[in-house]
């Protein structure tokens, strides 16, 4: 009888699976499996045995969204135990949200289950500030005026801090504090960190967003001292925080032998300037650093030299990801960038938007591009920065997955390279092809000349823009042809004006991009026709987001209806 029950389970399971099978499954397996139960299933062991193991059920739960977990809780005691742990593994406390009190009630007794905690507090933000679209509706219904919300938020904040500070939080691994800056009082982030000093002793990841405190570099050292196991730290100062400009004097523990933060792998600092001495003092303590992001304040002076870079590379030899954004109006010279590339031998990801990318850096990049997985040269400051050099890099970028060349003037003709020239480069590898590149701007292709595809076939994300206002049909054909040779593309962002998105210019070539999830051409300022939209919906099965030039709400609704006509309700349509 027991076996028969299992047999029935296996049959019901079989039919469940087949009702969810993807539409392009082979016909054969369909009929076989429907006719008989799992041929290979040993009836003494069934899926229910797999589900009986808590670790397996927890793993299954980790793939479920909250509403599904909620339903799962009620299935049986066993499901309840497993799914409850999953439910509490990662928690967002949105202090200003009307539903906050409900979770607050359950917080204390479940604190020890939490490994990843995010605290969002915008109740101290500007009155006009809203959280997200969904919250908009709820807040407007609930809110009896700005004051009510702020007062409620204040009490909730106090209560949460109270709960946190009197409990053991040593099991928490990830903490994100996303607390908007208040007008007058101390920021929630700082309040929490101060009240819970030392409580988060197991913390591995700390993200303190939008700090309103005085921009003080010593704060970073303080955090690193308090949480020695930290592997990643992100601190974002708001641009409106007061800047401590006077000399901060020696750190509390001025060291001959600085403490080594051996666990720290990732450091992300936004909103603060790091002059040479301060920067070196910091990185000297982090020999295992793999990822560094520094986004400086606008119009600030960096004051770095070649020797800064050399010493940085010496202190942090394992750097593989580097993101330097000097902000608008700041300086970060070509020579420094080139030196960074030369000395950091493990570099795989380079983001240098708004830097002075010039000939020296390109020279080094030519040799290093083969190793790079990510390259961001958006809005580099040198005027007219050489699109041709960038395109040449693409013919060598075998491992590149991400490219952001927004704001780089690409001459559309660059996408034509005659077969002859490519062969020439291959035959003479010793020759420095960099010096030899012809004036491509002057070359016009033969009508039958084949298009060279870029080598970066692993590319997944691309953001490009073009120099000319109008890209003509033939130029488009080759641009689309080049893109179509990149089968792994997931996201395309096109940033020129008047770039045609239609079949006459060769859009249909992009049918090969089966993995495409995001298509963004919103700044092209050309309305897109119905058949193109429908083609996109049917041709790109994984499409999630279409960002287009759409004027007016009615037009957006129209586009959505076209997508619905081809069964693609799921595609999100975004417009500016």
């Amino acid at each position: 009888m027991f076996s028969r029950a299992l047999y029935l389970v296996s049959r019901s399971l079989a039919s469940q699976l087949h009702s969810r099978a993807p539409p392009d499954r082979g016909g054969d397996s369909d009929s076989d499996a429907d006719a008989e139960p799992f041929n290979t299933l040993d009836l003494n062991t069934a899926t229910t045995r797999a589900l009986a193991l808590p670790e397996i059920l927890e793993r299954i739960g980790s793939y479920l969204d909250r509403p599904s977990l909620f339903n799962g809780l009620l299935v049986s005691r066993h499901f309840y135990e497993s799914f409850l742990s999953v439910l509490w593994l990662s928690i967002q406390l949105r202090i200003a949200h009307p539903s906050f009190p409900r979770i607050l009630e359950q917080l204390e007794k479940n604190l020890s289950r939490i490994r990843d905690l995010t605290i969002e507090d915008i109740s101290t933000g500007n009155v006009g500030q809203t959280d997200s679209d969904e919250d908009d509706d709820e807040d407007s219904v609930d809110d009896v005026g700005g004051r009510g919300a702020v007062f409620r938020g204040y009490l909730h904040r106090l209560r949460s801090i109270e709960i946190l500070s009197r409990n053991d939080l040593s099991l928490l691994q990830c903490l994100t504090l996303d607390c908007g800056f208040p007008a007058n009082s101390a920021s929630t982030s700082v309040h929490i960190l101060n009240s819970c000093q030392g409580k988060f002793s197991g913390l591995k990841h700390l993200d303190v967003g939008l700090l309103s405190n005085t921009r003080d570099r010593r704060y970073i050292h303080q955090i690193l001292d308090t949480y020695p196991l930290l592997e990643s730290l992100r601190v974002v100062w708001s641009a409106q925080s007061p800047l401590l400009t006077e000399d901060q004097g020696p750190l509390e523990q001025e060291r001959q032998h600085p403490t080594k933060r051996l666990s720290l792998r990732r450091l992300h600092l936004t909103g603060l300037q790091w002059p040479e001495q301060e920067f070196l003092r910091l990185v000297q303590q982090c020999p295992q650093l793999e990822e560094l992001t520094i986004r400086g304040a606008s119009k600030a002076r960096w004051g770095w030299t070649i020797s800064t870079v050399d010493r940085f590379a010496e202190f942090c030899p394992h750097i593989s990801r580097l993101h330097i954004d000097p902000g608008y109006g700041s300086d970060f010279e070509d020579a420094l960038l080139a030196r960074l590339l030369e000395t950091l031998s493990g570099l795989r990801s380079l983001h240098v938007p708004r830097c002075d990318l010039g000939p020296e850096t390109f020279k080094v990049l030519k040799d290093r591009i083969g190793q790079m997985e990510e390259l961001n040269v958006a809005f580099t400051r040198k005027p007219g920065v050489d699109g041709r050099k960038l395109v040449q890099l693409m013919t060598r970028a075998r491992n590149l997955r991400y490219l952001d060349a927004s704001g780089v003037s690409l001459d559309p003709w660059l996408f034509y390279v005659t077969q002859q020239q490519e062969e020439q480069q291959q035959q003479e590898p010793g020759q420095d092809a960099h010096e030899d590149i012809p004036e491509w701007g002057r070359i016009r292709p033969q009508p039958s000349a084949p298009v060279t595809s870029w080598a970066c076939r692993k590319l997944e994300v691309i953001s490009i823009g073009f120099a000319t206002l109008h890209v003509n049909t033939r130029q488009c054909q080759s641009i689309y042809a080049n893109l179509s040779n990149l089968p792994n593309l997931r996201r395309i962002h096109i940033l020129p004006n008047h770039f045609p998105i239609n079949f006459e210019s060769g859009l249909a070539q992009l049918a090969l991009l089966r993995r495409l999830t995001h298509f963004d051409a919103h700044s092209t300022e050309k309305a897109i026709s119905e058949d193109v939209i429908k083609w996109m919906g049917t041709t790109w099965p994984k499409l999630q987001v279409l960002r287009l030039y759409i004027d007016g709400k009615e037009k957006r609704a129209l586009v959505k209806s076209w997508l619905r006509d081809v069964g693609r309700d799921d595609v999100r349509v975004e417009a500016d």
Partner: protein, 155 residues
């Protein structure tokens, strides 16, 4: 180099070492024991299931070995199952247990995602029906659980 795996019902399977080592359990065993021709017994896995597991490992033999920290990050989980894997999983859920025992994380993930897709969107009663599970809660307990966890209901 090949190794011999022996299922619970005493069938021998000859596989490439590289393929067998997709199972961390087997990999560790081989490292501990060192160079040896003796077959590796797998008392918890039947021949039928082992055939399927080997098929999976062969198909995925060139996949990069997943770094533990990446797979354990809940934020990175997605519900994209490769087409081949989806067809593969339809045949036998015993594979989940085998993948757990042999420590083949990618295969375990595919199995768990498949079951998760079954659970999604179902009411508790429908889930019970799907897996033939008995409800061992009293109505009062059910009500209390609902109340305590309603914050999760529509997030």
């Amino acid at each position: 180099m090949t190794v011999i795996l022996v299922s619970s019902d005493n069938q021998d399977f000859k596989v490439d070492k590289e393929v067998a080592e997709r199972s961390i359990l087997i990999k560790n065993m081989l490292e501990d024991v060192g160079e040896s021709d003796s077959p590796i017994p797998l008392p918890n896995v039947t021949a039928a299931v082992l055939t399927k597991v080997i098929e999976y490992c062969e198909h995925h033999r060139n996949d990069p070995v997943q770094v533990p920290e990446e797979t354990d990050d809940p934020r990175k989980r997605s519900n994209d199952i490769e087409e081949w894997d989806m067809k593969f999983m339809q045949v036998d859920h015993e594979i989940i247990l085998a993948a757990n025992y042999l420590d083949i994380k990618p295969l375990l993930d595919v199995g768990c995602k498949t079951v998760a897709n079954i659970i999604k969107g179902k009411t508790p009663e429908e889930i019970r029906k799907a897996f033939n599970i008995v409800n061992d809660f009293t109505p009062e307990e059910e009500a209390q659980i609902k109340k305590e966890n309603e914050w999760a209901e529509d997030r």
